[in-house]
């Protein structure tokens, strides 16, 4: 067992699960989507991205790309949330919530690809 691999996989899978947790629920219902969860997803995703830095293999490049995509999606979701709640008189409306959740939905997809690649890599290693 390789501790580095454990940490690496841990962060990647945690990013996916948290992301899914935030995404899951009624798309425009603010009660179904916890802001702390979004915060945690962003932090974990950032760490997962940093862990992928400097890997020069083809797979490493793919993993880094998917993580960067997830980050872009999640940070835009956070920015939308911040803009809606602080700079708009109406606050976080149902429509805004739907935007935020759908953005995080895209991140879920990217994270799923990440995990699939991870599983593929480990299954190749076994042979």
């Amino acid at each position: 067992m390789n501790l580095e691999k454990v940490i690496f996989s841990f962060f990647m899978i945690l990013a996916l699960t948290l992301n899914f947790g935030f995404f899951y629920g009624d798309v425009h219902n603010p009660d179904h989507h916890n802001i702390y969860e979004l915060y945690a997803v962003i932090v974990i995703n950032l760490i997962a991205t940093i862990l992928k830095f400097g890997d020069r293999s083809q797979l490493g490049a793919m993993l880094l790309a998917t993580s960067l995509v997830a980050n872009v999606q999640l940070i835009s979701a956070a920015i939308v949330w911040a803009v809606a709640s602080h700079m708009q008189a109406a606050g976080v409306t149902e429509a805004t919530m739907a935007t935020i959740v759908s953005l995080s939905g895209g991140a879920v997809l990217a994270n799923i690809i990440s995990v699939i690649l991870l599983v593929l890599e480990s299954s190749y290693l076994r042979h």
Partner: protein
């Protein structure tokens, strides 16, 4: 991904994770700990404000307690935040700074810069191995002729020297061992625009290794090598090295030319010298006694030339073995061999300095050479002095010593290679001159001095092909007869001739010396010219522009544009209708 970014990213993993973790904990704390707003109500910082607060605190900007003054609980958390986040931030910065300073990183940066500049080269270039005196001189001259170069040298200081040189365009330099095949390939040998390899390191062994590598991997690419030992030279020639340049042989050849005729020597000096510098003065050799200080590689060659022209010679050298070898190789010779340095008056007097006509100071020690010259000149003022200069830094000393001929091996090699690369026809021309009689040479030199402005002239070759001279080539292919004299006319004022002289023409492999002005040109002729610096520019105008060519040939210009041709056609038609 370039190795540089890869190294940075890999090294920055730990500091970045520290920063992200510290920030996230600090922000979360700020969000969770309740505060009080200006109305005394319980107020929680949201993520947006918490991120703002932690960001300016961590980077020590410190805007203060925004938007409301903090409660004591919040202040306690802010305190913890400050210590940890500022620490994390500084840790990351110090990591970057220390990373930049590591030799490995510097090396990666230099290599990636080199690779980038090599990728940006879009013209043919020469790979120059060794940036010593010869290399510097060569690169300097090639760049002035707008020929691209790439330099490889294993000496760190040589590459630094290259970086600070003020060339008109960038010359990439790589600090690597050129004798290692992989490094040579990396330096651009495998590049499709690499036109040839020039090995001018100070060691024959290295030059040989470079030549072998280049010839084995890319047999079609020309290789020019410097070699100072005959056995290495033969070795290099054995596997088709295109040119080997031996400074002693080259100098000896020039010396033999000078012995044969001083005009021939002058011709050689003028045509191969550095353009726009002052002309060297003619040297006259008197028949008589010569003193040869130093019987090494140079001395031995000069000795045989002096004997060939029936001069009597006395040799002075410090090495006894050379004396024995000399008498063994030349049995029954009347030349005297004195053991000594030749720097003291006693030895020189013993060698017959008072009655001598010339002295050659040819040892590999500059101080000894200078000392010998100075002592000899005191003893006999009318001496012809030939001095060998080994180090570039002593140039001023040798010039001050009033030596008539200065032999500087690096300079000789650089000059020879430069001519080989930029003007191979000139070497053929000088070779032909060597076989001409004295009268011909004297006439040539007087004609030459008429067409140059008291400075060393420029020499260049024009090839009448599609690529280099499209206008003339097209006219010739269409069947127009163009005499050589037309392209020697000033394209601004056709009554005047340009200060320039055609030296040789090469047609179908045959050489024509000093072609006549009435000669009719043919496509693919190669013509060697020599003249003032503007002359090359004037001639190239004629070669490139059909209107200029028509002007110097006093022909009418036909309009080039569609409208112009239509206009001309319609007037012609009208005239025809009227008739």
């Amino acid at each position: 991904m370039s190795p540089v970014t890869s190294i940075i990213l890999r090294q920055m993993r730990a500091p970045l994770i520290v920063i992200v973790t510290v920030f996230s904990i600090a922000i979360l704390g700020m969000v969770l700990i309740p505060g009080i707003d200006d109305q005394g109500q319980v107020w929680r910082m949201d993520f947006f404000h918490a991120l703002y607060f932690v960001s300016f605190t961590a980077t020590t900007i410190g805007f203060g307690e925004i938007p409301y003054p903090l409660t004591d609980a919040q202040r306690l958390w802010a305190l913890i935040t400050i210590f940890f986040s500022v620490f994390g931030w500084f840790y990351a910065i110090s990591k970057i700074v220390s990373l930049i300073q590591t030799p490995l990183f510097k090396k990666a940066v230099i290599h990636s810069n080199f690779k980038r500049s090599l990728g940006q080269i879009n013209k043919k270039f020469y790979l120059i191995c060794g940036y010593g005196e010869t290399g510097q001189d060569l690169v300097d001259r090639l760049v002035k002729k707008s020929v691209n170069c790439v330099v490889i040298d294993n000496n760190h200081r040589a590459i630094e020297e290259l970086e600070v040189q003020d060339y008109i365009f960038y010359v990439p330099g790589l600090e690597a061992n050129a004798t290692t095949p992989s490094q040579l390939l990396y330096a651009g040998l495998s590049h499709e625009l690499c036109k040839g390899v020039i090995a001018v390191t100070n060691s024959d062994v290295s030059n040989l290794k470079i030549a072998i590598t280049a010839k084995l991997l890319y047999p079609e690419k020309p290789v020019i090598c410097r070699s100072e030992h005959t056995d290495f030279e033969e070795n290099m020639r054995s596997f088709n090295t295109d040119h080997t340049v031996n400074p002693y042989d080259t100098f000896a050849h020039g010396f033999a030319m000078a012995m044969k005729s001083s005009a021939l020597h002058l011709l050689n000096e003028w045509l191969t010298g550095v353009p726009d510098t002052s002309l060297s003065k003619p040297i006259s050799f008197r028949q008589g006694h010569w003193i040869l200080c130093g019987y090494g590689r140079l001395g031995q060659r000069i000795y045989s030339i002096l004997r060939q022209f029936n001069h009597s010679v006395t040799i002075i050298d410090t090495i006894t073995e050379l004396k024995e070898e000399f008498y063994q190789n030349n049995p029954g010779v009347d030349s005297e061999f004195i053991i000594g340095t030749g720097t003291d008056a006693a030895t020189l007097k013993q060698a017959g300095i008072e009655n001598a006509v010339g002295i050659v100071a040819g040892s590999d020690n500059d101080s000894n050479n200078l000392s010998a010259i100075m002592t000899a000149q005191i003893l006999n003022e009318d001496l012809l002095v030939v001095a060998r200069q080994n180090e570039m830094m002593n140039k001023a000393l040798f010039q001050a010593s009033l030596a008539d001929i200065i032999m500087h091996p690096s300079e000789i090699v650089a000059r020879r290679i430069r001519t080989l690369l930029t003007n191979p026809l000139l070497i053929d021309f000088l070779e032909e001159c060597y076989h001409q009689d004295n009268e011909w040479i004297n006439i040539t030199i007087s004609r030459l001095s008429g067409s140059i402005n008291e400075v060393i002239p420029h020499c260049w070759t024009n090839t009448l092909n599609q690529k280099e001279s499209p206008a003339i080539h097209e006219a010739l292919v269409m069947g127009r007869k163009i005499a050589l004299k037309y392209i020697l006319k000033n394209p601004v004022q056709r009554q005047e001739m340009i200060c320039c002289m055609p030296l040789m023409m090469l047609r179908n492999g045959k050489r024509y010396l000093l072609p006549d002005e009435e000669l009719i040109l043919q496509p693919n002729d190669q013509i060697l010219f020599c003249g003032i610096s503007q002359a090359e520019h004037y001639i190239s105008q004629c070669m490139h522009d059909i209107h200029t060519l028509n002007y110097v040939m006093s022909l009418k210009n036909s309009p080039d544009s569609l409208f112009g041709r239509y206009l001309l056609g319609s007037t012609k038609r009208k005239r025809r209708n009227n008739d």
